[in-house]
Structure formats: C-alpha cells, structure tokens
Amino acid sequence: MTETGKPRTLFEKVWSAHTVRDQSADSPAVLYIDLHLVHEVTSPQAFSMLRERGLRVRRPDQTIGTMDHSTPTTPRNALGIIPVADAMAAKQLDVFSQNCSDFGIPMYALGDEHQGIVHVIGPEKGLTQPGMTIVCGDSHTSTHGAFGALAFGIGTSEVGHVLATQTLLQNKPRTMAVNVDGALGDGVTAKDIILAIIAKIGIGGGTGYVFEYRGDAIRSLSMEGRMTVCNMSIEGGARAGMVAPDDTTFEYISGREHAPSGAEWDAALANWRKLPTDDGANYDEEITIRAEELTPMITFGTNPGMGMPITAAVPMPDDEADYNKKIALDKALTYMDLRPGQKLLGKAIDVVFIGSCTNSRISDLRQAADFVNGRKVAEGVRMMVVPGSQQVKRQAESEGLDEIFRAAGAEWREAGCSMCIAMNGDQLQPGQYAVSTSNRNFEGRQGKGGRTFLASPLTAAASAIAGVVADPRRMLN
C-alpha cells in the first residue's frame, strides 16, 4: 500500500502509518494509538466498563495519568499538602488513583512534582513527539498537534476502547490548510492568531477537518506558541490541528525525559524529517490569513467565534442578515450585558485569569510577568496566575516570576485547570467580568453567571494593571 510518488500531507502520512485496518464502505478505519493520556474526570466510567467485562489495560506502558480538572489550586498547607475540600472531587481523585494503580498506569497525583494539566505535561516530559497518534478524553488534546502528531479528544466510551485495545474506530477526516503568512506586529501573539482564525471561520467552520497550520507566522512561533494555536483548533470545530515538525520542534524535544537519545535520536530525527507535507500535496480546503493585519484579539460573546480586534466595537445584531445568527448575537449580548456597538476597551473588569492548557506555560508566564513587573494590579481586580504544571511552577519560581506576580498583587497558585473549567473551587461570581487566557467563554464556563473575555496573556496582564479591558500595545515599554 505504498503511495510512493504521490505527494502527501502531514496528516496523510501520520494517518496511514497508524491504520491497523483501512476504512471501508462498512466500517471506519481502525487506528493504532501511540499515547493515551487519562485524567480523573472522563475516565472513571471507562475503567468501570473494563472491570465489568474483566478486561485489562492493553498497553499501560503507552498510557499516562494526571490529576488536573477537579483539583484545587489553593496553596499548600504547612505540611506541603494541597487540601481537597470538595467531597465529590476527593472521591473522584481517589477513584482515579485506585484505577491507575489497579491497572498499572503511571500517574501523577495532586501535589506530585510532575503533576499538571494533561496537555502541558505530555510535551514537557518529551512524551509528545512528531508523527505519533495521541488521544485523551479531553477536547484540547489538539494541543499536541503542534509537534506534528495527530492528536484529538475522545469521549469516555472511546477512552475505554483505547484502554482495552489501544485502537480507535475513526472515520477519516478531511484536511484544511490554514496559512498564516507574514510577520506579527508588536504585542500580537499566538493567541491572537488563533482567536482571529476562529472569528473568521466560526466555531463550526472546521467540523470534520484536521487543520494544518502553515506559513511564516506559524514557523516563526516557539513550540509553546504553536501549542497555543493548536490547542484551540477544537474551538474552530476541528478535532485536530497540526504543525509540521522542524528544527524548533526538535530542539524543544531534545533532552527531555522521554525523548529518544543517542542512535535512537538520530533514527527518530530521520523519520521526523520525512513528515512535513510534500510539495504539491492537496488539501480539501484552504484559508489564508495575513499576520501583519492582525491585532490583539478579544472575544465579546459566549462562544470563541465571537471575537474581534481589541479596538473594535461589539457588532450590532440588527446588521446580521441571518436570523438565527441575529438571535444568537442578541442572546450573547444579553448574557454578557453589553450594548451593540459598544467598545470593549475601557470596560471595567473584576478578574484576570492567566492559566489553562492554552496559556499557562513558562513563556506565557514570562510574558505576563514582564508586563506586570514594577506595576500594580488595579484596585478591585483579582488577578490569578495558575501555572500549567508543577514543573512550570518550579521553573517560574526559579526565575522569580512568582515574586513579580505577588509584588504586583496577583495570586500565585498551584498547577491545574483552575478557573478554565470552574469545577475545582476557582470560579467567577455571577455577573463578574473576567479577561481570561483560557479557551472557552461559554455561558457559565468560568462559574455560573460569570462573563468571560478571552484574550492573550499580554492583553490579560495589561487589563489587570488597567482595571479595564486594555490594549497591551499602548502600554508596552
């Protein structure tokens, strides 16, 4: 089944290298999974299913667990322990520990020096590598595509399938090239690129596709920036987003805990270099964005597609020709308590959240710390900084970033999903406005009745200092 001669996309290459059985008229393809990430929230029912059927985990050695979603991020007590106040969360964490230990899966528990958000720890441990298939019961698994892996979120039944068989039934998605050409201006970041893409295509625009992000602006991003972009592929409806691996990728992986070394590194590298899309390969769809036209972005509504340049005004529902879209916009503005045509710049805010698998890595924290250094968080604003992993936390502390944040009046927390999902005690109060570096602004996502403006760490930091939605470009030194 060699397709020598026929130019192929990155996606095609990874897909065909993992088909245990090809797709047919009667059944989807059976895809082999190289790495399965599990966490406490979407796995318990899958483990129960294994127990009911007397099944084992086929490849515990290709599976890894971490606690992240329902874990509190409150600072440790005098004994160095992070107390779990919520009884249901505590039970869920216990069940997860038990499952991982019963089935032989290595797992990082709350407080462990390796614990963190599942999509932060995969790359940081060198487990995420080019050309792999990676799944997790979490839609932001798309993050790992930044390495040229095919990575996507699955439901709990599928978590059970992968645990038991290391395979998944999958219909082959279509491909979309997402070109971001040119160079970004000052104060414009990876987060702004992806918010602009989603604003352009809408939250259902990528349904059924795998994105491949291409172009100079993507190539010039760091691995962490690429992860930010790939992370939010799902917010455009695509289950996966990929970036072809290059020297930036290889440099990032080299020397990490699970990275190959010696002769194995050379062999891996030779394979990885074959992964990028061949010249002349076709995509089912293609879109292009000019990087120099981008500005810092912010969302105004209740889904990530409702985004705009930070200097723009909230759109007018009456200008919307499509009736359903008009209704949706009306509903969103009512929930957000915003007026049509209103500018967001200068809008007073209550909370700034820097964290989540989108923007909680060391470069995000450095950028935010750099901005707040020597400044003070505006009175009445709560700024939370939540590192994505214990490793990120230690790194930040070794650089003194925690001190900078504290001196500015921000909270420095333990690692976890925190206020991104508001199921762990960190949440907005009804009616509060937050500028958040996370990925979802759905109604109630950050706490019942809470209102979220999604933005970059830079915009979030600028807004924390100003106490209102602020354009970081006007405050850069």
């Binding site: 245990v20 929230v41 599976t63 839609s139 395979t167 259902g204 409806g237 359903n324 508001a422």
Partner: protein, 203 residues
C-alpha cells in the same frame, strides 16, 4: 447498548445555535464517577433559577405541555465544546432519544451514537418547520426509522438523514464497538510487532 430502530415521540425545541456541552451539562456536575442521575443536570443553568433548584418557568423544558418529549430540536452546530460524554448521558437521562439539528460537533455526535442517542441532521427548512410545529402544538409527534434513515413529520413527509453504515449497524443490533475492536486482537498484535512503541510511560 439497547437496540434502537424506531423512535416515536413528541418534540420540544430549543432554537438556539451552537448549544455547547457546558450548557448541556455544566462542568460542576462532572465530579461523578458513574453515569447515573445526570438527567436532572441537563441544561441546568437554563432550567433552574439562581438558586439552582427552582425551575425557571420561562425555560421550555419546564413547560408542562412539553413534558415527556423525547425528541429535541435544536439550533445549528449542536454539542460543540468539550468531549464530555456526560452530555449524551444527561440528555438520555432527561428522556431524550434523538436530537435534531442541521449539524453536530464531531465528538458529541460520536459520543451520542455510542450511547444510543440518535443525532439527526436535517436541512434548515425542515429545522424551521419543526421549530414552528413544536411552538404551535406541543403534542406534535414525529417518528424515526433508523433502518430506513427517515424522519417522518406530522404531515407525512419523510425526510431522510445521513447515518454511517457502521453506526447504523451498531444501533440496529445493539452492538457496542468495543466488542468489534476486541475481536481484531490478532491484527493489532501484527501491527505492534511491526511498529515498536514510540514512548514508554512506565520506563
């Protein structure tokens, strides 16, 4: 999974586009370790007032006329957002057997099919017609034939909907897909013997 071939039931509509999984079931209900009892959390933040308990009289699912509806008609792009299978579990728990929209988010559709909740894709005109029918007459009933892949409206018009052959087979026969994958063990072993593992988490 139970076999699913025919659905006959009354409809209720939530004509909102892009209903995300955080609306279908808010994250604070995800601290469970089983699938039971999630029905009362379905659309929780729309369904109950501030206190989280008092039914919101303005929300359609609380309207006595629509009690017992088993087919939900929704706006475009239903189920976007997270991969939580709690979303179909909650809808099933709330008594729904099918959801009708013009489009579904990928993961939601997969999750729904694996639990016997049927996602039915219709064109925008049919969707609008169903919105009006549900509005005008809460007793409006539709019937669904999975085998024939048709949705029959009260006026007798049968609208066909897409359904991949494999999912259809699984629904009609109550087959769950894990059994299918387990039976491929030899092929998986053959694959593994030719493709050494890429990383070892236990190392």
């Amino acid at each position: 999974m139970e076999k699913l071939n025919h659905i006959q039931g009354s409809i209720v509509s939530i004509p909102v586009n892009d209903i995300d999984t955080d609306q279908i079931i808010p994250a604070r209900f995800l601290k469970v370790t089983d699938k039971e009892g999630l029905g009362k959390a379905a659309f929780c933040d729309w369904r109950y007032l501030e206190d989280g308990e008092t039914p919101n009289p303005d929300f359609i699912l609380n309207n006595p006329a629509y009690q017992g509806a088993s087919v939900l008609v929704a706006g475009d792009n239903f189920g976007c957002g997270s991969s939580r299978e709690h979303a179909p579990w909650a809808l099933l728990g709330a008594g729904f057997q099918a959801v009708i929209s013009t489009d579904f988010a990928d993961i939601f559709r997969n999750n729904a099919l694996k639990n016997g909740l049927l996602p039915i894709i219709v064109d925008a005109d049919t969707q609008q017609q169903l919105f009006s029918l549900a509005d005008e007459d809460p007793s409006t009933t539709v019937s669904v034939d999975v085998e024939a892949q048709t949705l029959t409206l009260p006026d007798g018009r049968a609208v066909s909907f897409p359904l991949d052959g494999f999912s259809k087979y699984c629904l009609l026969n109550g087959v769950d897909q894990l059994g299918y994958l387990l039976a491929l063990d030899e092929e998986v072993q053959a694959y593994e013997s030719k493709h050494p593992r890429r990383v070892a988490t236990t190392a």
